[in-house]
Amino acid sequence: MDTATKNFELKDLDTDFEMRNQDSINRSEIDKPVLSNIKFMITGILFGIILVKSEVISWFRIQEMFRLQSFHMYGVIGSAVVVGIISVFIIKRFKIKTIDGETIHIYPKKFNKGQIYGGLLFGFGWAMTGACPGPLFALIGNGATVIIVTLFSAIVGTWVYGLIRHKLPH
């Protein structure tokens, strides 16, 4: 890689907090074999089953939520956040380590205007498709095969964002 490209990327990374976080989080595990990721697949399987059985991947549930006609989605997200907050607190308070004995790091998120503009745009899409990214995968597995098109469209959306992000307000 020539110096010019490298400088450009470093400059770019500097404004891209997600990427910088990802780089620093995973550096310690580069040498792990690919199959060590099976544990994350098993976690995903359990998560997928929960998404289906709680019906949070249902377009009907999402319409109910945005029309304030059901407590279900608020209960699911609210109690998930409460359990998440308690878990993260316990991990930090007791300095719990990973199964490999590493210190657990959670990198803070930095504010940028993308969280407002992008958040609103995602909200529009969520109301239309009734699905956020996790449920897209769960719905396809659950037999709603046409959602493959929606997932593909979401990938295209991400790609277009990558293409024009330098022109967008952040």
Binding site: D12, G75, T98, F122, W126, M128, F137
Partner: protein, 191 residues
Amino acid sequence: MNIIEWIKQPWPWYVAGPLIGLTVPTLLILGNRTFGVSSNLRHICAACMPMNISFFKYDWKKEIWNLFFAGGILLGGLIALLFLQNPDPVVVAPKVATELAGYGITNTEGLVPKELFNWENLLSLKGFILMVVGGFLVGFGTRYAGGCTSGHAIMGLSNLQLPSLIATCCFMAGGFFFANIVVPFILKLHF
């Protein structure tokens, strides 16, 4: 009622929510991974069509755990379909059911309305907007926002991050506006 019969029922929020919340410490303890699904869309771009876009020029293989996680979600959906499927239709809140019936949506046998989300409907304006334009906004918006419901609303809020609270409020604001004002207009389309 045996245990499988019980599991097949829709799970109440106070069972599902805490289990979803436990995904956060599970991923952290299994290997310092922060919960999030939408990044996978970026990894797929980086793996399949990075072109010369700097946003996609990174070593996506270092993030392969996330693709395993997403693959697991898909498999979980399949396992639920094969072994744990609820035989009854989805119970929809009366007001919403009445409103949807007005647009000709009465089939609640699947988690998504079969009248809207099917392959033939992709060719109609209504279906195209809901499935293709909607999907595009999900992908574009989550990356612009730096995360989705899992990465911001659950992981970010669990770590008490103000940017995630702002993002979550905007997800909800955008959804409220669209579901109440725009989606009814889309559903009224006859073509």
